[in-house]
Amino acid sequence: MAQLLLSGNEAIARGACQAGVGFAAGYPGTPSSEILQTLSALTQVPIEWAPNEKTALEAAVGAALAGARALATMKHVGLNVAADPLFTAVYTGVEGGLVIVTADDPGLHSSQNEQDNRHYAFAAKAPMLEPADSQEGLEFTQRAFELSEQFDIPVLLRTTTRISHSKALVQPGPIAPVQPGREPPENRAKYVMIPANARVRHRDLLDRLASLTEISDSGEFNRIEPGDASLGIIASGVAYQYAREAAPQASFLKIGMPFPFPAELVREFAGSVDRLVVFEELDRVLEAQVRALGLDCEAKPDEMLVGELSPQAAAQVIHGVRPPEAPAPDVPPRPPIMCAGCPHRPVFYILKKLKCYVTGDIGCYTLSTLPPLETLQTCLCMGAGVGQAHGISQVYDGDRPIVAVIGDSTFIHSGITGLVNMAYNQSTATVVILDNRTTAMTGGQNHPATGRNLRGEPAPELDLAALCRAVGVKRVRVVDSYDLTQLEEVLWRNVFSSMPKHA
């Protein structure tokens, strides 16, 4: 088969097909979104956008329980949302293989933080594979399904933006036949995590991890690449590639499975080199493990805890050469802006005019915090704006109306429970759902209120206004944001009227 030039995400999708994946679900999020989109073109099995990452992972857990090989994909912060099922799914284990892709975003190309999801592997006790290029993206995904079944455990596959969105040559293999689902087992001791069962499964988890440690130490994913013994470098992911360019002659311990940590291999490697350097992006995860073994090593300076690494950062850490400070080019910045004709614009124009305090959320409308609108005052995590508005209105009784804005996709993701809370606790704040009928920020994916599924086929359409009424919101108004007069009228009438003074 001819080589293909694939992005990390495309390679992961290909690897899933080569493993006979039978179900995949996810929620969009840069840099993970293209995995499911690619997969839907490669296979006819159900590939779904879920309302959020937790529902996606739970559905994948179910498909795996029914014996199918199942994939869940999300960006790094998505795993925060899906962490609850993850932490206990490692106890229960699986029937069919279950692989969870978490795509980190060092450098915050398109995210609200740059958390390092390798910590999740250690915290949840979930094995993690970490490809360093597209070829490994394909191979590791395929192997992750096998490991998941062999060791009866969900497997995390961690990428970063540079792995997900970089293309490299890949040798594809044959697409495997889909492993069909079957009747799920009645095995309550394994799948009902009441304390009595969970205690047993926790112990069992430790045994499974002990067996997985043998894989980690075996050289399959964590491999020693002998070179000049005067310099040994431990590195993973794209940092490994940068280090290879900075020190082509050095000895390497390339980490492709950070958890369970390959302690034996690290000891062996450390003993074989004169100088030991750990080079890793974001947090000091590998370094801390190396030091915990009582081994001394060199590592990056604190300033490299923030942002992406680079070939010059590798040269700096390994050879001590500081790159010359490049003078900042004197060019006006080109910040992203709301598109011409964007239906979000008029809403912020009016909210600003009405002097509302606007709590917010994540999506294209977050751009309203920048000039010229400068209206949005908060952006924390998806859905948070609704909760924040409620909390503020419970303790603030000044003159400014408190308004939460939230996109349609974000509302479905995690705004609904916040709205239930507001109705139940009789909030005086207002929620504006900015319904542009798409998940615009991440590239225009469908969601439950667009009337189309991931493949673009017709699907049942969630009625947002009816949902709001159903959870107990008394005044629900639907207005066309392009009709500026009507929009101002509706906002003016409603943002003040629920406030105590105006009631």
């Binding site: 969105h165 970089s166 490299a168 070939p311 060019v331 006006p332 992203p336 598109c339």
Partner: protein
């Protein structure tokens, strides 16, 4: 290294270049940052190619870029620090004013070109929009710039032809190839004249 503004087709251009390198038998890696591309932000893409086993990182070190392909003047200015001292800049003579930039802070076209010239030893200027107009489809401007770049790369016509055909939208292969040839021939003629 390719730089430009969202909507200019920078990523399509880098895809053509990367695929052409693949057809030529090189090992190739390509990196792109497309977080904000759709909202008129800056777009950056890197393509690295060499014999098998020599390309590790998907991005180069700053100051190590051989060819800087600028689809827009301000983005080119912004990226000059990436270029090698002896590197070449292929620059499309288009200036797209950032939406919110205050009037005085934005250099005009001539000032921008002058600043680029000051920094760059070898400059290939392209009038991409004009050439694209000539072939009859303004949307092929990015392909003319790829053509101009192709003249500087050790990649055969066959590989370019295959790459253009597989990357551009179906039905536009022929007009894009015309655009490519216009850009390429322009560079080749200039190089011949300057020798």
């Amino acid at each position: 290294m390719l730089v430009g503004v969202g909507g200019q087709g920078v990523l399509t251009a880098s895809e053509i270049i990367a695929q052409a390198c693949r057809h030529e038998g090189y090992d190739v890696k390509k990196s792109e940052v497309h977080g904000m591309a759709q909202r008129g932000g800056s777009v950056i893409s890197h393509v690295r190619y060499a014999e098998a086993g020599r390309v590790h990182a998907p991005v180069p070190a700053q100051g190590q870029v051989d060819i800087l392909v600028g689809f827009e003047l301000l983005e080119t200015l912004r990226a000059l620090g990436w270029l090698k001292v002896e590197g070449t800049a292929v620059v499309n003579m288009l200036l797209v004013t950032p939406p919110l930039a205050a009037g005085g802070a934005v250099p005009n076209r001539d000032e921008a070109v002058a600043r680029i010239r000051q920094h760059v030893q070898r400059l290939v200027s392209v009038k991409g929009e004009e050439l694209a107009h000539r072939v009859g489809n303004i949307r092929t401007a990015n392909t003319t710039v790829v053509g101009a770049t192709a003249a500087l790369m050790p990649v055969s016509v066959d590989s370019w032809q295959q790459a253009v055909a597989e990357v551009v939208p179906s039905g536009t292969g022929q007009i894009n190839w015309q655009a490519f040839e216009l850009g390429r021939d322009m560079t080749l003629n200039r190089e011949a004249n300057s020798k």
